[in-house]
């Protein structure tokens, strides 16, 4: 204690002189101490005074910053031509760079959310997509190009759509009952009611008639991405969080976080459980988020799961609903792939079915649907929000102004969906083809000694390559991914992009291929292994 004292008083000889002397001494050195030591109010005063001083300092700096701009402002306008602007800018720069770290250069600044989007690094998923689109494989023209296995796109049934469009395009857009007015004029932002009817019919058809979708509960958006974003906008505020079972779609991070300011909390699923969702892990993730002080607003699931491709069983869905009810959460169910592929062993169960039959609160379930995968029309950009919550519907209807679908596409789709013969045949043929492709691809992988998850639907397979990575970590996984991209010239999606907790898993999208390309793909994979 004594040393303490001596240190504080930078005047050691005097400390030994006498107690009273010491006090005066200290007071001289530590300016506030005199005041602090007085009376019982010492504690209060001792903390308030520096704070107040600091506050005034801030105030002073702020006002200086402001006035620093103003007085120097008038001159430039009077000075003509080019040279003053430069000088002006530099001045602005110097003022800003001192007080705000963002104003590094005096140029017009992008918002901080904007710059976070710029800085947001491209994940291997996006890098791979970019590389593949720059140098795409083509059998005759570019045989050394990169084969695209990273983009979830169904090209298998493109010919059907093409044939249909060849015949019907003109008629469906213009002749059809109305004149040109119908396509050029303003139309409701949330989609034409005819298209809503048609889509609801199509969705029921995909679900094999087990569910009826009410067109008035539907909002159409230009793609699934804006649909998800819009729901998130409606359900959560900045800083709130959603639980998402991982591995999840590599796009979800951008879709949800960029503009809404919402957080994602992954709920890790493991290969030992077949990557299925368990309530215990949900609970654990929820509690962890709570502990971090995050407010959890809901759960986002994809069914069939992207990237794993498995279906959520009826039981899982019930458990999920119980969990949501207990914690008072929303559920966003993306059922984009419901129509693709077929499986005799397991039936696809839509959230809409469960909600229909059970006593659960319909208001907390929101379904997202899209035509990108099921009808293989991603270029048309049509997404659907289906909800029974009037609040959400009303708000989404208003927000649809930011992402409404072009009337041309709507007209085309209306007549396409109304052609029920075509739709029926399309669904059947498409399923057959996806299934065939899937068995071919999975078989090919098996021959190479690669196991993949038994995927029920979806246009991809989730393969376990953990035996081929060294070290057994994310680093090893990314090294393998790089080898795939640079040596084997094929773009696949590594599990780490999907926030998979176990290294060594990869997603292969095979519906962009043709059947005769499969041997080539297998050859290239083998080259790396």
């Amino acid at each position: 204690m004594k040393p303490n004292f001596q240190n504080s008083a930078n005047n050691p000889p005097e400390t030994t002189a006498g107690s009273t002397g010491i006090f005066t001494d200290m007071r001289v050195i530590v300016p506030l101490q005199g005041v602090v030591q007085g009376g019982g109010s010492g504690v209060v005063l001792g903390s308030i005074i520096p704070c107040a001083l600091f506050y005034f300092l801030q105030l002073y700096l702020k006002s200086k910053n402001r006035t620093g701009d103003d007085p120097s402002a008038p001159p430039p306008p009077q000075l003509p031509e080019i040279s003053p602007p430069g000088g002006e800018l530099q001045r602005a720069q110097s003022v800003r760079s001192i007080w705000s770290p963002r104003g590094a250069n005096g140029q017009a600044q992008v918002s901080s959310r904007g710059s976070s989007v710029i800085k947001h690094p491209d994940s291997p998923y996006h890098l791979g997509l970019k590389r593949a689109s720059e140098n795409p494989y083509d059998e005759s023209r570019n045989p050394d190009g990169i084969i695209q296995l990273g983009l979830d796109e169904n090209k298998l049934s493109m010919d059907l759509v093409q044939d249909w469009l060849m015949v019907h395009t003109k008629c469906s857009t213009i002749c059809q009952e109305l004149q040109i007015n119908g396509i050029t004029a303003y139309h409701p932002f949330d989609g034409l009611s005819e298209l809503k009817m048609a889509v609801s019919g199509f969705m029921s058809q995909v679900m094999e008639g087990r569910v009826f979708f009410d067109p008035s509960h539907m909002i159409l958006t230009s793609g699934v991405t804006p649909a998800i974003e819009m729901l998130v906008f409606c359900l959560a505020d900045v800083g709130n969080a959603f639980l998402v079972p991982s591995p999840y779609s590599p796009d979800l991070d951008r879709d949800i976080k960029w503009r809404t300011g919402v957080e994602i909390i992954p709920v890790p699923c493991r290969s030992s459980d077949n990557f299925s969702l368990s309530t215990t892990s949900l609970n654990r993730a929820y509690n962890k988020a709570k502990k971090r002080g995050l407010k959890v607003q809901g759960v986002i699931i994809s069914n069939p799961s992207n990237p794993v491709g498995n279906l959520l069983s009826q039981e899982t869905l019930y458990n999920l609903l119980d969990f949501a009810t207990e914690k008072n959460l929303h559920i966003i169910a993306t059922e984009i792939l419901a129509g693709a592929g077929d499986d005799k062993n397991q039936e696809f169960v839509s959230m809409a079915e469960i909600i229909d039959s059970e006593e659960y609160d319909r208001k907390r379930v929101h379904i997202i649907y899209g035509l990108s995968k099921d009808v293989s029309l991603p270029g048309f950009r049509v997404g659907v929000i289906y909800s029974s919550n009037q609040n959400i519907l009303q708000a989404s209807k208003k927000l649809a102004r930011f992402s409404s679908i072009s009337s041309v596409s709507q007209r085309l789709l209306i007549s396409m969906f109304n052609d029920s013969r075509f739709v029926g045949e399309f669904i059947r043929t498409n399923r057959e083809r996806v299934e065939r492709m899937s068995s071919l691809f999975v078989g090919g992988l098996k021959n190479l000694g690669i196991k993949s998850m038994k995927s029920s639907r979806g246009s991809y397979c989730w393969a376990d390559m953990s035996g081929f990575i060294r070290p057994y970590s994310e680093k090893g996984e990314l090294e393998l991914w790089e080898k795939f991209l640079n040596v084997a010239k094929m773009n696949v999606t590594p599990g780490s992009c999907c926030h998979c907790i176990e290294p060594g898993w990869f997603r292969f999208c095979f519906t962009g291929l043709t059947e005769n390309q499969i041997p080539l793909v297998m050859e290239r994979i083998q080259k790396v292994l």
């Binding site: 007071r27 001289v28 007085g38 009037q390």
Partner: protein, 539 residues
């Protein structure tokens, strides 16, 4: 201070100890003043002042963070009341208010909670602008099938040149979507979110043709979005953070309130222009608004201007644009120039694009962003094609990435590409469009003048800005809305009242005349006359 200090210390109750032993006295003190222990250590002077400061700083920081989320709703709730009380007489308005009340209460009782921003949006009381639009779409006028319907003069939509578009589409549609050697994979597969390169080239050509004159537009600076609405929102996201503000010359397009504020959390600060200046923007007023915003602690990130102005229809002169640029440079803010009506000009004045101004400057290109679209100038609002044209590489990067949320559908892109590439069609179209606009404008304004209603001299846009202040009583927003209500419900005409456009003077209305047929004009004028006469009779 040196003398009072010790005396106070004697009172502190620890005096005995402190007198006995100097070291222990320091312990006593440390007990009393929590920070003293540290203060007395080495570097006491610095630590003693830094620590409370740091704590205080964090407290401020914490308070700010805690305060910021509830802030925007506060603003939103404070803004709706302004239309609400004045419009409480109107049946529609009060009904929609009660509906939203109901909604609110249901939201708070019903278990699953939605976000507070959704409340703002669901609750945002529809302005007369939207109520009018809804009313028309529920009961649209048609000279044969529904002669008692509501006539639409509230929507800036151009139907004067529909026949031209129709002819073109009838001829070229199939080729443009599927033809040109491209298979369906060109339209059905994933396309770049920010638009196909071909369309960008065609768009740049079109923009150079209609608004460039001396400037050419560079396709690499173009980002395509699904409509100008999302173009503006994306720019807003890219340029401003939550709580920042944009200056906007008022009266302004009523949709901006939704486009700019809803999801971005950005504020709009109206810069009021007056009829005495012919509603032109003056820099001192702008400066005043800027300083006031500053004083309130708001960070102004830019100016949003529409040129040709919507709803007034006047053009900005070259001098105004130059001084605006100077102003932006001086304050280090951005300029978003909404030039949606660039080719829909019909007056003697010449339209000057911001691109032309910035082209002659060497610096500051990166603070100018132009919004364009095909909804007005090519009369294709249903196609939903909007354009961001920026000189700022960062803004372009952000915008390109954000177009994932509002891409243009591929078949549409194909049609538009071949339409825009057909330069003879475009030339013919824009010329005839201008002629028809001029003719329609003259007819309509003449009709209004007969009724004693004057309009500002406008040279662009699909509307005219009329002064009905002589017909409203009382002379305030309430009188204006009364007249609007009469026109809507009695005369069955939907026009946009100035208050929806945040006009500071009551009694101004925006009438869009391009949805009409020439033969509809007498009907419209007759309908307005019926209301005008009832207004005039008491006086």
């Amino acid at each position: 201070m040196t003398q009072t200090g010790p005396r106070r210390l004697h009172n502190s109750g620890m005096e005995d100890e402190s007198r006995d032993q100097s070291p222990s006295s320091s312990t006593g003190m440390r007990l009393i003043v929590p920070l003293q222990g540290i203060v007395q250590g080495r570097g006491g002077l610095i630590l003693g002042s830094v620590i409370p400061c740091a704590m205080f700083y964090f407290l401020q920081f914490y308070l700010k963070r805690r305060r910021s989320p509830p802030n925007p709703p506060e603003h939103h709730t404070s803004s709706p009341p302004s239309p609400a009380p004045s419009s409480s007489n109107l049946t529609e308005l009060s009904r929609s208010a009660s509906r939203s009340n109901l909604l609110m209460s249901r939201g708070s009782i019903g278990r699953p909670h939605v976000s507070s921003r959704v409340h703002c949006i669901a609750k945002s009381n529809d302005s007369p602008y939207y109520i009018g639009l809804d009313k028309v779409s529920a009961d649209p006028y048609d000279s044969f099938s529904n002669p008692n319907g509501v006539i639409q003069l509230g929507l800036a939509e151009n139907r004067l040149t529909l026949d031209l578009i129709e002819n073109w589409i009838a001829e070229k549609l199939n080729d443009s979507i599927l033809g040109g050697g491209l298979s369906v994979s060109g339209i059905a597969t994933y396309q770049p979110f920010d638009g196909m390169p071909e369309l960008k080239v065609a768009m740049a050509g079109f923009m150079s043709q209609v608004m460039g004159r001396t400037v050419t537009f560079d396709p690499s600076q173009i980002v395509l979005t699904s409509g100008a609405t999302s173009a503006i929102e994306i720019l807003c996201f890219a340029l401003a953070d939550q709580g920042n503000a944009f200056l906007i010359p008022a009266p302004y397009y009523p949709g901006f309130d939704r486009d700019m504020k809803w999801r971005t959390g950005v504020e709009l600060i109206p810069v009021h222009c007056r009829s005495s200046d012919n509603f032109t923007l003056s820099i001192p007023v702008l400066d005043q608004a800027f300083n006031q915003a500053r004083k309130r602690g708001q960070k102004v990130k830019g100016i949003l201007l529409s040129n040709p102005s919507n709803p007034v229809g006047n053009l900005m002169t070259r001098e105004t644009l130059f001084s605006l640029l100077d102003f932006a440079r001086e304050k280090n803010i951005h300029i978003i120039s909404d030039e949606l009506f660039a080719a829909s000009t019909f007056g003697d004045e010449e339209f000057v694009s911001m691109a032309e101004i910035i082209d002659s400057e060497d610096t500051d290109k990166d603070r100018v962003h132009i919004v364009y679209g095909l909804s007005k100038d090519l009369a294709l609002p249903g196609f939903r094609v909007g354009v961001i044209y920026s000189y700022n590489e960062n803004v372009l990067t952000v915008s390109r990435k954000m177009t994932r949320f509002s891409p243009v559908s591929a078949p549409t892109q194909r049609i538009v590409t071949s339409m825009l590439s057909d330069t003879t069609f475009i030339k013919d179209f824009t010329e005839r469009n201008r002629e028809r606009l001029r003719a329609m404008y003259d007819l309509f304004v003449e009709g209004l003048e007969e009724l004693g209603i004057g309009c500002t001299k406008s040279s662009g846009g699909l509307y005219c800005w009329c002064d009905m202040s002589g017909l409203i009583r009382p002379y305030n927003e309430k009188g204006e809305l009364d007249l609007w209500d009469k026109l809507l419900n009695v005369a069955k005409i939907n026009i946009t009242p100035g208050s929806s456009c945040h006009c500071i003077e009551p009694g101004w209305f925006r009438c869009c005349f391009t949805t009409l047929d020439e033969k509809d004009i007498p009907v419209v004028i007759e309908r307005i006359r019926s209301v005008v006469e009832t207004c005039k009779s008491p006086s």
